[in-house]
């Protein structure tokens, strides 16, 4: 790309930063420090001086150049915006400020690679055993750290030999005819390529409840690109996804097992990328995270709770990008409906990974320190299994604790008698 286009891009982003509503919200900051006390990154490193300092305060000095580069150490977990009692969009402001800074100073090639989740899935699935062997190889990971800047200890997804859509094409038609109408299922990149088992189980649970499950071909939501400051790419990704999800019907509920991608569609693409498309708003209001959807059924008295007992203690972690949807912790409530299952909420702020943050060699140690209280809690409470709603957080927990970590729907699937948790 030419220098001119980079300057133009920075100028465009700066105009957004200066003129959008988020900018006005910084005047609502009363300097109460609640975001500072809640920030999981500032708690473990002085390299990030805290969301208030970097956000509502430093923002007033960003006139002409990005003076404060510590914004790059923000992990985009969004906790500051969740806890702000005055409604300041701290995380949104800081994400935009980082995008401006990256547009001015350039984006590392590493950040362009690790955001390509669909490409990774498409490339790894046909050669899954080989890809997994490479990612398990210490020498390969050492080289990857040196050349690309992805830390050798960071969690990597496990490639599967069959993608979700291949399974969908090959499986026999569902035995039970639908009794409750159709739903659109959004599986995310992880459900499509890396956590195919959880995606299949989500479909089987929805079919068990009587829904016809439509699974249109779908790509990435662009969240990883967005959190790395690649706003144009993220915009393209999320618009393509919106189109794909709408292709299955424009008045159906969309149910998702991709917890953070759901937040991207509900609010982040609008608030951070600044997209005002009516199609995005349409998808954003129709989509439900799967536990949220099942708990809505439960509240309406329409969820069968003939669950088989699962006698186990289960540490559960509600990820940041689920909490930032401002709907509580529906998976925690849902799992507690299963008899025998003793669900223990981690009450931890963040696992540290924040999408791609904890993969980066210069941030890996910070991410591990952020996640330490969670890892300790999981190790103290686990009986072989932990649960969490978002994929990269599951990989982080599993990688840092050695405890198998699954999507909550996997346990619901088992409790409905649809199959045990596969080892």
């Amino acid at each position: 790309m030419s220098e001119k286009s980079r300057a133009e891009r920075a100028q465009h982003l700066r105009e957004r930063l200066n003129n959008e509503l988020n900018r006005m919200s910084l005047d609502q900051c009363v300097k109460c420090t609640i975001c500072e006390t809640s920030c999981p990154v500032a708690a473990v490193t002085p390299l990030f001086s805290g969301p208030k300092f970097v956000g509502p305060q430093a923002e007033r000095f960003r006139d002409g150049d990005s003076v404060d580069h510590s914004v790059d150490y923000c992990s985009s977990c969004g906790t500051c915006s969740v806890v702000c009692p005055q409604g300041v969009n701290v995380a949104e402001l800081n994400s935009l400020a980082r995008a401006v800074m990256k547009a001015e100073h350039g984006v590392p090639i590493r950040d362009r690679i690790i955001t390509q989740t669909v490409l990774m899935g498409q490339a790894m699935t046909p050669v899954a055993p080989l890809a997994n062997a490479v990612l398990d190889n210490k020498l390969a990971r050492f080289a990857m750290e040196k050349v690309v800047g992805v830390h050798r200890g960071a969690p990597m997804p496990t490639a599967r030999t069959q993608s979700l859509h291949t399974w969908l094409k090959k499986r026999p038609a569902p035995a039970k005819a639908p009794t409750r109408g159709a739903l659109v299922y959004f599986h995310g990149c992880a459900g499509g390529y890396f956590e195919v088992d959880a995606a299949k189980k989500a479909i089987e649970v929805l079919e068990h409840l009587g829904y016809e499950v439509l699974v249109p071909p779908q790509g990435c939501c662009g969240l990883a690109e967005q959190s790395n400051g690649l706003f144009e790419q993220a915009t393209k990704s999320v618009r393509a996804l919106v189109k794909a999800l709408r292709s299955a019907g424009t008045d159906l509920t969309i149910v998702s097992t991709a917890g953070s991608c759901t937040g991207m569609l509900k609010h982040e693409a609008h608030e951070i990328l600044g997209l005002h498309d009516t199609e995005l708003a349409d998808v954003g209001t129709r989509i439900r995270e799967i536990s949220e959807f099942l708990m809505e059924l439960h509240e309406a008295g329409e969820l069968p709770t003939d669950f088989e007992p699962i006698k186990q203690r289960l540490p559960y972690h509600a990820p940041c990008q689920l909490k930032s949807q401002g709907m509580g912790t529906p998976a925690f409530d849902l799992l507690r409906l299963i008899p025998g299952l003793e669900v223990v909420d981690s009450n931890a702020t963040c696992c540290g990974i924040a999408g791609t943050y904890g993969l980066k060699k210069e941030k890996y140690d910070i991410a591990q320190a952020v996640g330490k209280p969670l890892f300790d809690m999981v190790k103290q409470t686990e009986q072989g299994l932990a649960a969490c709603d978002t994929e990269t957080c599951r990989w982080q927990i599993e990688n840092s604790t050695g405890v198998r970590t699954v999507h909550p729907i996997v346990l619901v699937h088992q409790a409905y008698g649809l199959g045990a948790v596969t080892p």
Binding site: T37, V82, P85
Partner: protein
């Protein structure tokens, strides 16, 4: 669906949620942010000024004007509510006697009356003849040890006796390379035993003359008893003095109450505002949660509204001076701010006494004194009749009105 939806996680909302859950009710607690408790001093004020300084708060509660929030509750119930909350906090976090005020040094060396305080603070109670060895930390800007000592030394204790104080400093970075550490940075460092031991040795070496070593309130946030560890090394009593936010004692109290609420099985939604309600006849059927991706209705049999007052945006004043309560549209004791804002900063500010008037159960009432909704209760800063920050009555009002609402719901409607 829950039995009760409680809105707000300040002292009032947390107290109401805890009391309800412990009575066996299913509770949903909803809040935009964590509320003001973690910005507070981490103590429990009942009544500090009337405007004279109060030594026996419950006696003063019994004598408040008839439009004060305490008037319809009574001194016994206020004392019982405070004692119940203190008793719920295990391990002990609030100590003292609701009937007698402590007078604790502030971060500028003034004396502040409060009823219940944290065990790490009470050795600072200003009793005539007491002397303080004030020790500051060079890297911590919010605790000016010389100012604290100077002001204490020229103050008279409430019993008429004299106070004495010395000032000293320690030089001990909590995190290398950090230019502007917050009190919380120190508290987190002091959660580590090794750093606390180094800190204690530095304080022991530096402290000047005085019976009580007065330190900034940073003695641990998660690990309890750090102050005892320091006192043992120093060989004298230690008292913590709360700092401006981030307030470590406020965080301790907030996190302790939140943990109790969670342990009692309360479901919690953080990060979304309540923006409206639906009605069935006169009763509130649901409140509207402005979640990401669109509004969600939270249904319940009863609702406790504990959102705070002007400081949290629960009461609004627009550019024409019109005062309103935007969520439920509740009747207020005044609707025009103009005449209520005086020219003098130090004078009474009647605007801050504006709010919702309630019946004896804690339900908002209209001009005729009738409950607006049979199942809507209010607690804390929204209630009219007190200028809390001048009186130092906000904590006691929050706790007493929360307990009143909870007890009416569990005893009256079910």
């Amino acid at each position: 669906m829950s039995d009760v939806v409680v809105i707000g996680t300040g002292l009032a909302g947390l107290t109401a949620a805890l009391r309800l859950a412990r009575s066996g009710r299913s509770v949903m607690l909803v809040t935009k942010g964590p509320g003001g408790l973690q910005l507070s001093q981490g103590t429990l004020d009942i009544l500090g000024y009337t405007p004279e300084r109060v030594e026996r708060p419950l006696e003063a509660v019994a004598a408040v004007a008839s439009d004060h929030p305490y008037a319809s509750i009574g001194a016994d119930a206020v004392g019982a509510a405070a004692a119940w909350l203190a008793g719920a906090l295990v391990p002990e976090l609030l100590v003292g006697d609701p009937a007698r005020n402590l007078h604790l040094p502030t971060a500028v060396g003034a004396l502040r009356p409060t009823a219940l305080a944290q065990p790490s603070m009470v050795a600072g109670d200003a009793i005539g003849g007491r002397s303080y060895a004030v020790v500051g930390v060079r890297q911590l800007k919010d605790f000016p040890a010389d100012l604290v000592a100077g002001n204490l030394a020229r103050s008279t204790a409430p019993d008429g006796g004299a106070l004495a104080a010395s000032a000293a400093w320690v030089d001990l970075p909590a995190r290398p390379g950090e230019a502007d550490p917050s009190p919380l940075t120190y508290a987190r460092a002091l959660d580590e035993e090794a750093f606390a031991a180094r800190f204690a040795r530095a304080v022991a070496a530096a402290a000047g003359p005085g019976d009580v070593v007065a330190l900034p309130a940073v003695l641990g946030v998660r690990r309890s008893g750090v102050w005892r560890q320091v006192a043992e090394v120093v060989g004298r009593d230690v008292c913590e003095i709360p700092l401006p936010p981030p307030s470590v004692p406020g965080l301790r109290l907030y996190e302790a109450l939140l943990a109790l609420v969670r342990a009692a099985g309360v479901r919690i939604i953080t990060g979304s505002r309540i923006v409206g309600r639906t009605l069935e006849a006169d009763a509130v059927a649901s409140v509207t949660l402005a979640a990401a991706g669109g509004p969600r209705q939270l249904r319940a049999d009863a609702f406790v509204y504990a959102p705070g007052g002007f400081e949290s945006g629960a009461l609004e004043v627009d550019s024409f001076g019109a005062i309103s309560e935007p969520v439920f549209g509740l009747p207020l004791t005044a609707t025009d701010a103009g005449p209520l804002i005086p020219a003098t900063y130090w004078g009474p500010h009647p605007l801050f006494a504006v709010g919702v008037r309630t019946d004896a159960a804690g339900r908002p009432v209209d001009a005729a004194g009738a409950a607006v909704h049979p199942n809507l209760y209010v607690a804390g800063g929204l209630i009219a009749g007190a200028e809390r920050w001048r009186e130092k009555s906000g904590d006691g009002i929050a706790v007493a009105t929360a307990v009143r609402a909870a007890d009416h719901i569990t005893g009256g409607t079910r």
